[in-house]
């Protein structure tokens, strides 16, 4: 397949036919994250042929690319100019596309310190449920004209429209990165991560894998050295591999057949009492759990801890996946869905049964 191809018209035609017939579409990009969300049925609609970087101007810190563009291609283009997608999108498979990264809205280890996928989205071009091609947001850093439909699309799992193009803010790569390891108990680790986060330290990732507390520093050489002196710890030599394995879930923690849960809580929350194996990322704010504890218990415990739980991988893909919404909030979601996709043709049921 070529690096650049515009198939917006074909995609639009497919949406038009679906809107007319009412037969739902199952939207996919590279398929690397097709396991995520609830299982759905529908006619496949692939964005993979709609690909290529549309504009990239390093001086503007903005890249615009089609949804089917492989993340590898985008990251290679950015690396050439010493820039990066600062939210470190998890690929979870080599075929990962930009569209999939934005539709799932997932972010990697740098998230608590620089922002999530949604924080870097400046604008989108999409097809709505009436088969219209619409543009929202733009290619500039500050833009408050109109409702923020671009960010509404992030993490909506394709239930509101088909992403065609996405404009993202990019950042310069830090001059230096250094990872330090300390041995801590889980609650010590949570506490110390949050103490660091309250101080002006150049943190770019903080994780505890049940054994070691890993902290990544980034910035100018001098700043990283100074922070090392303040924090202490052994230098990790194969640090890039470690963070890559964490982001891509190759880390040994993720092995094994048990369902994988993602529990998001306020970062300083002490350990939650759910049986299973834990890995703490995002400076405490994102905790991975391998456990066969029942969904109701996990959901309730996460909520009591001030957060929410997602059955990320494995388990029953037709049962509990995302934390239930309060009735008023769910009704609002349904009205928003109706406004974007009145025929309910886009990934119906992917996020919640009635959405």
């Amino acid at each position: 397949m070529t690096d650049t191809n515009d198939s917006a018209d074909q995609l639009r035609e497919q949406v038009r036919v679906a809107a007319h017939s009412g037969v739902p579409l199952q939207i996919s990009g590279g398929g690397s994250k097709s396991f995520y969300g609830r299982a759905t049925v529908g006619t496949p609609l692939s964005t993979i042929a709609h690909r290529g970087i549309v504009t990239y101007d390093p001086g503007e810190l903005v890249i615009t690319a089609r949804a089917g563009t492989p993340l590898t291609q985008i990251e290679a283009a950015l690396a050439e100019k010493n820039q990066m997608l600062a939210f470190e999108p998890p690929y979870l498979g080599e075929s990962a596309t930009l569209g999939g990264a934005i539709a799932t809205g997932l972010s990697g280890p740098r998230r608590p310190y620089v922002g999530a996928a949604r924080d870097f989205v400046l604008g989108v071009k999409l097809i709505n449920g009436q088969a219209e091609i619409l543009s929202f947001g733009g290619q500039v850093m500050k833009n408050v004209a109109g409702y923020d439909v671009a960010r509404l699309m992030v993490g909506a799992l394709g239930t509101l429209g088909v992403l065609l193009e996405i404009s993202l803010k990019v950042l310069p790569r830090p001059a230096t990165e250094l990872t330090l390891v300390q041995h801590r108990t889980p609650n010590e680790a949570i506490e110390v991560m949050n103490i660091w986060a309250r101080r002006p330290l150049p943190l770019s990732a903080c994780c505890y894998d049940g054994d070691g507390l890993y902290v990544r520093l980034c910035g100018a050489d001098s700043a990283v050295r100074a922070a090392h002196d303040k924090i202490g710890g052994e230098i990790l030599t194969n640090a890039q591999n470690f963070w890559h394995a964490l982001r891509e879930q190759f880390h040994a923690f993720f092995d094994g057949p048990l369902p994988l849960w993602r529990v998001a809580v306020p970062p300083a929350r002490p350990s939650l009492r759910i049986p299973g194996k834990w890995l703490i990322d995002w400076g405490g704010a994102q905790r991975w759990l391998k456990s066969d504890t029942d969904a109701a218990t996990i959901c309730r415990t996460a909520a009591e801890g001030g957060g929410h739980a997602t059955l990320f991988r494995g388990g029953d893909r037709g049962g509990y996946i995302f934390h239930p919404l309060a009735p008023g909030l769910l009704a609002l979601h349904q009205r928003i869905k109706n406004a974007m996709d009145p025929q309910h043709i886009f990934n119906p049921g992917k996020m919640y049964p009635n959405l």
């Binding site: 408050v144 001098s222 306020p266």
Partner: protein
């Protein structure tokens, strides 16, 4: 439904300074509404006498005035809910207002509606130092949050120039920015949870105590929605550690183009400054006369580059930035010698609007954003348009993120001046769109830029906005006439064609 839709008569196409126009509210209906609101509000929380309404007739954009029918000043969420329910039942428009410092007329009242002031919601409810958040009511002043957490070494990053007075609720409604956006983001990047009431009185919470929440990102969607979707009653903001050190470098240029090249070079070198501001000659001279900041008054442009973070990194970057300035042909550059001089350098920039305001009886502040690479071209074109219109324009620019604030000088008492100013302003915004930018970077659309929305968005995108608005507020009672123009209005503005009379979502009401 069934009740009669009451349309806010604001913002007719050819509006100028507006004084209370003919109202379509029957005195009987007004009396009945007052009686209903008196049952749910303490007596001092409802204003209905003309002299009491007067302070609410405009926000920071004082060229647009309108007396509201009533002003409600509730101080509990229950009272806000009761006001909304009463208005919803009667089809009465509601305009929410924070501190009223907005610059786009977003809080301009409706003559047939209730102006809902959130000013009494001024309490900081909880500071969570461990999780770096603060839960606050919407009427809390932006700066008050940073002041309340300063002893913890924390602060709230977005700093709009009105931060002494503006409220956090208004900041969320407008997605306010400030001089530190390039590095620290806008309001949307710095909040974590919102509670709002729908026009029907339902309390909805979006976002959460964790960094993300299940479902759609309605936290982002509510931010910048200009009071059209709900009335915000509580906000959880993120707090950041105060940087160890901040330092500012001032550089002067004999050519705006060189200054623009220096901005690109700094970004190109991989530096993300905390602030990167540009002022043109007219703005420099005005600011210097006003606050004596030590600006070189013969420069065509100055840049203020603030670097913050870890001490060592700031030192390293100052050297880099000064070298870049030199390479880009700066005629001079200085690092602030001490905290006093740093404050002084910023004082000039922060006083730029009032300083320019002293050059003419009135000024009109624009807010376009452009890709930085078009800066020199856009400034040149603004200069030409300014000469054609016979109106001076001073330029103040958040250069780091491309957000331009041209200030048009005029005299409202001179017949035709305001109209010429508005035409020039409209042309400037259209120029921003033409180079790939936007009509508003941080001030919002309000009533001010409603016509330019027709240029920035297609008819179908506008129809999509209306459909989304309908999902929150089916009767179109919240802040009607603002932010998103009707297709009919755009057709009248002549900027857009509704092909063959075919309107999208024909079953939807247009508001």
């Amino acid at each position: 439904m069934g009740a009669i839709m009451i349309y806010c008569p604001n913002s007719p196409p050819g509006k100028t300074i507006m004084k209370t126009p003919v109202t379509n509210v029957q005195p009987r209906n007004r009396r009945e509404l007052i009686a209903a609101l008196q049952r749910v509000l303490p007596s001092q929380a409802l204003l209905s006498e003309t002299e009491d309404l007067r302070p609410y007739e405009c926000d920071g954009l004082s060229a647009y005035c309108e007396l509201p029918m009533l002003v409600a000043l509730p101080d509990t969420v229950e009272q806000v809910r009761a006001v909304l329910v009463a208005c919803h039942e009667r089809g009465v428009p509601v305009v929410a207002r924070g501190a009223g410092t907005g610059l786009s007329g977003g809080a301009l009242p409706c003559s047939n509606g209730v102006l809902l002031s959130l000013a009494k919601f001024n309490r900081i409810l909880e500071i969570d130092a461990a999780n770096r958040t603060a839960r606050v009511q919407p009427g809390v002043r932006n700066l008050a949050i940073s002041q309340a957490v300063a002893h913890l070494g924390l602060y709230y990053a977005p700093d709009p120039s009105s931060q002494i007075a503006c409220s956090i609720g208004g900041n969320v409604a407008e997605n306010a920015g400030g001089v530190h956006c390039l590095k620290y983001g806008l309001t949307v990047h710095n909040i974590q949870m919102l509670s709002f009431l729908t026009i029907e009185g339902e309390l909805i919470t979006v976002g959460g105590a964790a960094l993300d929440a299940p479902g759609y990102d309605l936290l982002a969607f509510m931010t910048g929605s200009e009071g059209l979707l709900g009335v915000i009653v509580e906000i959880t903001v993120k707090l950041l550690p105060q940087p160890e050190r901040a330092q500012v470098v001032l550089a002067a240029f004999d050519d705006v183009e060189k200054a623009g090249a220096a901005v690109a070079a700094i970004i190109g070198a991989g530096i993300v400054p905390a602030g990167l501001e540009m002022m043109d000659n007219l703005a420099i001279r005005a600011a210097e006369q006003f606050v004596h900041a030590g600006y070189p008054v013969d420069a065509e442009a100055i840049l203020l580059c603030e670097l913050d973070g870890v001490n060592e990194e700031v030192s390293e970057q100052i050297l880099q930035v000064r070298e870049i300035f030199q390479q880009c042909g700066a005629t001079e550059s200085h690092t602030a010698r001490d905290e006093r001089e740093r404050a002084l350098f910023w004082a000039g920039r922060k006083a730029a609007f009032p300083a320019v305001g002293r050059l003419a009886p009135d000024y009109y502040c624009m807010d376009g954003t452009i890709p930085r690479k078009h800066l020199a071209r856009v400034l040149r074109r603004i200069g030409e348009m300014s000469a054609e219109a016979g109106l001076a324009v001073a330029n103040v620019f958040h250069a780091g993120d491309g957000n331009l604030h041209p200030l048009i000088l005029y005299d409202a008492n001179k017949p035709g001046d305001l109209e010429r100013t508005e035409r020039l302003g409209a042309k400037i915004l259209e120029l921003c769109v033409a180079v790939g930018g936007t009509i508003t970077g941080e001030h919002g659309v309000g009533v001010e830029k409603i016509n330019q929305m027709c240029i920035q968005f297609s008819a179908s995108a506008l129809a999509q906005f209306h459909a989304l608005k309908h999902a929150f507020d089916p009767r179109g009672l919240l802040n009607p006439g603002k932010a998103v123009p009707t297709l009919q209005r755009c057709a009248e503005y002549g900027a857009m064609h509704v092909h063959g009379g075919k309107v999208l979502f024909p079953d939807l009401e247009r508001f």
